[in-house]
C-alpha cells in the first residue's frame, strides 16, 4: 500500500464561497460495519509529572470509531451519529477525562446479544493528533551515532521537546462562512477543502449521517500556517461554471441532457486529475496504528520532497480491500516540509553531516545553517 484509494467516492461539483472551494465526495452506498461518532470533551486532561509540574492538554473534540455493527438508533430515518452536547444520558457523549489523553484508546462497547459485554469494538481517537504525532515523532530518537558535531543532549534525549504550531479552523478567515452556506449532498461522505485553490484538508467518513454530524467539526480541526495566510490574503476564487458551447450539435432535449451530463463528468475527471493530484498521486509512508476487525487504522507521512507543491500528513482507516473508509489530512506548511526533508536526509546518512552534505550537493556548513534555521540548533554542539 503506497497511495490513497478513493474507490467508491465520487466527486460532485464544487461549491465556492469567497476564497474557499469545497468539493463534496459522495458514496453510492455507505461503508458497512464502521461508524464514527463525535465525542466532546468538557475538561482538559492533566497529568502530574512531578510535584509542581504537570502535563496539561486540551482537545476540542474526539471521534469514536465503532465497528461493532450495532446501530445507535433503530429508527431508520433519525440521525444516528451523536453530535455535540445532548441531553440523552443513556449514551453519554461528554466525558470528563481525568488522565492523559492517549491518541488512540480502546473503548469497551456496550453489551450486545451474542457478544460478551465489554468486547472491544470501539475506539476513541483524536482527529489529526494521530497524524500530527506521526510527524512530530519523525526521527525523534535523534542521532544514532554520536558524531562529534552533536551535543550531548541530542544524543541522550533526541529531538525532545519537539513542537509544531497550527491554526484552528475557526481562525482561518472565510472557512466558517463557507462551511455554513455549504449545501450538503444527501449521500455525501466527504469533502475536500481548498483555500485559495490550495488543498487544505481532505475529510472522508464511512456514512452520510456521520458526515452530516461531523461537518461542523472541520472548524475545530488544525490547519497549517500556509492555509491561514491564504485565507487572509487569497482573493475570491472563481466558480468552474458549466459551459455548453454554442450548442450546434444539440437538436433535441435528450442531446441537451447528454451534454449537461458530460459537463458533470468532465468536472469530476478534471478535479481528480488536476486539483487533487497532489493528494491522490503521491506515495506515502504508511504506519499501521491499529487493527479494528476488518478495518485498519494508519497514519501516513509524505515523501517530504522540497520541490513539490503540497504535502499532506494524515490518518486513514481502510476496509479489507484497502478502500478509504475514514480519512483526515493536514497540509504541511513549506517550513514543515523542509524540516521533514532535513531530518529524513540526516537520518538517511546516519546523522553524518559531511555525507549528508555530499548527497544534497552542498557543504557541511550549509547543513549546519539549515539545522539552525529549522529550529534544531540545540542539537548541535
Amino acid at each position: 500500500m503506497s497511495g490513497l484509494d478513493f474507490t467508491g467516492l465520487d466527486t460532485r461539483p464544487a461549491q465556492v464561497w469567497g476564497g474557499v472551494r469545497l468539493v463534496p465526495l459522495v458514496r453510492e452506498e455507505p461503508v458497512p460495519g464502521l461508524r464514527l461518532h463525535r465525542e466532546v470533551y468538557d475538561r482538559f486532561g492533566e497529568v502530574l509529572v512531578s510535584p509542581g509540574v504537570s502535563y496539561v492538554s486540551y482537545i476540542p473534540h474526539g471521534l469514536v470509531a465503532d465497528w461493532s455493527g450495532e446501530q445507535p438508533d433503530t429508527r431508520p430515518d433519525t440521525q444516528s451519529a451523536a453530535y455535540g452536547t445532548q441531553l440523552d444520558t443513556a449514551r453519554p457523549t461528554a466525558m470528563a477525562v481525568e488522565r492523559h489523553h492517549r491518541m488512540v484508546k480502546r473503548r469497551p462497547s456496550k453489551g450486545k446479544k451474542g457478544q460478551p459485554a465489554g468486547a472491544v469494538a470501539r475506539c476513541r481517537f483524536l482527529p489529526l493528533h494521530l497524524a500530527m504525532e506521526g510527524y512530530l515523532a519523525l526521527h525523534f530518537g535523534g542521532p544514532a551515532i554520536a558524531w562529534q558535531e552533536w551535543s550531548r543532549e541530542a544524543v541522550r534525549q533526541g529531538l525532545s521537546p519537539r513542537s509544531e504550531a497550527a491554526y484552528r479552523g475557526l481562525d482561518v478567515p472565510g472557512l466558517a462562512d463557507a462551511l455554513r452556506v455549504f449545501e450538503i449532498h444527501p449521500d455525501q461522505c466527504g469533502v475536500l477543502v481548498y483555500v485559495a485553490d490550495a488543498l487544505a484538508a481532505a475529510f472522508v467518513v464511512p456514512h452520510p449521517d456521520d458526515y452530516r454530524a461531523l461537518h461542523p467539526t472541520l472548524l475545530q480541526d488544525m490547519y497549517g500556517e500556509l492555509i491561514h495566510q491564504y485565507g487572509y490574503f487569497g482573493r475570491p476564487v472563481p466558480d468552474f461554471e458549466a459551459r455548453l458551447g454554442d450548442g450546434r450539435h444539440i437538436t433535441t432535449l435528450a442531446d441537451l441532457r447528454a451534454a449537461a451530463g458530460a459537463r458533470e463528468r468532465a468536472w469530476s475527471e478534471s478535479h481528480d486529475t488536476v486539483m487533487a493530484r497532489e493528494l491522490l498521486g503521491t506515495s506515502y509512508a504508511f504506519e499501521r496504528v491499529r487493527r479494528m476487525a476488518s478495518f485498519d487504522m494508519y497514519r501516513f507521512l509524505p515523501p517530504f520532497r522540497v520541490d513539490s507543491d503540497g504535502q499532506h500528513i494524515g490518518e486513514l482507516i481502510t476496509d479489507h480491500k484497502g478502500r478509504t473508509a475514514y480519512l483526515k489530512t493536514f497540509r504541511l506548511a513549506p517550513a514543515q516540509i523542509r524540516r521533514g526533508h532535513l531530518l529524513n536526509s540526516l537520518a538517511g546518512d546516519d546523522w553524518h553531516l559531511g555525507r549528508t552534505a555530499d548527497r544534497l550537493g552542498t557543504t557541511p556548513e550549509e547543513i549546519v545553517r539549515r539545522i539552525r534555521a529549522a529550529g534544531f540548533g540545540s542539537l548541535l554542539r
Binding site: R12, P13, A14, Q15, V16, P24, V181, E183, I184, H185, P186, D239, F240, E241, A242, R243, L244, D246, G247, R248, I250, T251, T252, L253, L256, R257, A259, A260, R263, E264, W267
Partner: protein
Amino acid sequence: MTETYADLIAAEDVLLFVNAAVTSTGQREFRSQAYQQRLSLDFLHEYVRVNYRTVYAASLALDINDHNAARVVEQLLRTAGEASGEQKRTEGRLIAARLARLPPQRVYRLFRALRAAKVGNRRTRAILRDWLAARPDLGHDAVKYRAGLKTAARHFHLPLTTAAGTDTDTGTGTGTATGGAPPAAGELGDFLFKPGVRPRYEHPLLDAYRRAHYEQGAVYELPFTVAEGFAARHGVARETFVERIAPRMTRLERLRTQREAGADGAGAAVRTDLSVMPLTRLALYALSLTTEERVRRRRELTGALRSAARRAAGPYAGTWGRVAAVLDDSYSASGSGVKRRRPLAVALGGHFLLEALAAPGAYGAWWTSGRTDPLLVRPYGPTPLGMRVIDALEYAPERLVVVSDGWDNAPPGLAGEVLRVWRTRLDRERRTSVVHLNPVYDADGFDVRRLAASVPTAGIRDAEDLPALVEIAQFAEGRTGLAELQAYLDRRIESFLRTYERSGAT
C-alpha cells in the same frame, strides 16, 4: 428604434430597484448578514430617489414590501425640497394610499424615524393627521401603540380629539376591535400625557388598561400584546392566559400561539381557521410543522393551501395553459434565523398558485431534491437546477416558472446554459416562456441573482403576487424601454389609487 441607450439603462435601474424593494427587508439572509442587506438597500434607495424620483414614488403602488414602503415614504418626506409641486401632489396621494395599507406598527415606526430625522413640516403633519383621523379607534392605538402615538402626537402637534369613524375592520385584525365610540375629548390626552389624573375613563379600553394594573379580569379585555405584559406581572400561567385571551388576538397571533394553547394536538377543538389565511402565511405555517404532523393533517393543510391559491389566482385561475414549475428546496431555501424557511414557503405557495393558474391537469412541478410530495418538502441538499430545468422542459410547457434563489451549484451555471441553448437552438419560435422568480435579494449584486441574461427575473416576497410579478418580469428581458415601463407604472398607480380612494369614499 426610438429608445436611447440611457432609456434602457433607466428601465434597468428601475427594475433593479423594484426587485430589491420587493425582496429585501434589511434582515439577515442565508448568504448575507443584515448589515450587508441594509447597506446595499440604502444605496439603492438613495440612487433611485435622486435619479428617478417619479418612479421612486410610483414604486409605492407596486407590490414592494412594507419595510421598503415605509422607507420610501420616509425618504420622500425628508427630501420634499427636491420635488416640484406637481410631483408633490402625486406623492401625497400615493403616500396616503400606501400608509392606509401599511400595518399600524410600521406607520408608528415611520413616525419615530421622521421625528429622529427632524422632519416636521406642514405637508408631513397633514399626511399624518389624515392617517390618524382614519384610524378606527384611537383609544385602541393609545393602548396598543402607546409610545408610538405619544411620540407622534407630541412631535407633530397632532390633535388627538378628532378621532372619527367607526369602521372597525382595517388594520391588524378583527379580534382587537372594540367597535366602541372614540374616546371623549381630552380623555386621550390625559391617558397619554397625564396618567393617574382621572379616576376612570369613559372609553372601555382605556379604562381596562387602568384596571388591569390591579384587576386580573381586566387583562382579558386588552389587546394580546399589551395583555401579555400584565399577565406576566400577575403571574398568570401561560396556557390559561393564551386560552382566555384568544378572542382578543389577531389572526396571526392566534396562529403563532396555537401550539402553546394546545390547539395543534390531535383532537383539539379550537383551532385557527386556516381557510382564511393568506397563501404564503399558510405555507410558512405548514412548513413549521413536523413531518408526522403534516402527514396527519394532510387533508386540512392541502385543502387550505388549495383554496388560498384559488383566491389568490382570482380571475386568472385556469388561464395559463400548460405550466411547468422548477422549485428550489435546497438547503439555502431554509433562509435565516429571522426569515425562517421564507424562500421555501414562497416556492410551496407558488406551487399551489401555479397549480390553480394552470389549465386543469396541465401542471407539473419539479423540486430540486427530486421530491414529489410538496407538503413534505424540507430544505436539504444541493441545487441541481440545470437538470431539473431539463426535466421540466420535457413536459413541453407553455410557461416555465423557476422559483429559486439563483445559486445553481450542482454544477454551477448549468441552468443558465441549458436555458440559453434551449432558447437559441431548440425553441427559437418561443413556444415556451420562461420566468425566474427569486425570493432572495443579493446584497453584493444590488439585484436578485439571475440564472442567465436571457431569462427574465423578478424578485418575489409573497407567492400571492406571482401573477403581477410575472408581468413585471417581462420588462426585465432588457428589450423594453422606459416609455413602456412608465406606461405600465401609470396603469398600476391609477388602479392602486382608485382602489384606495373608492374605499375611502364609502
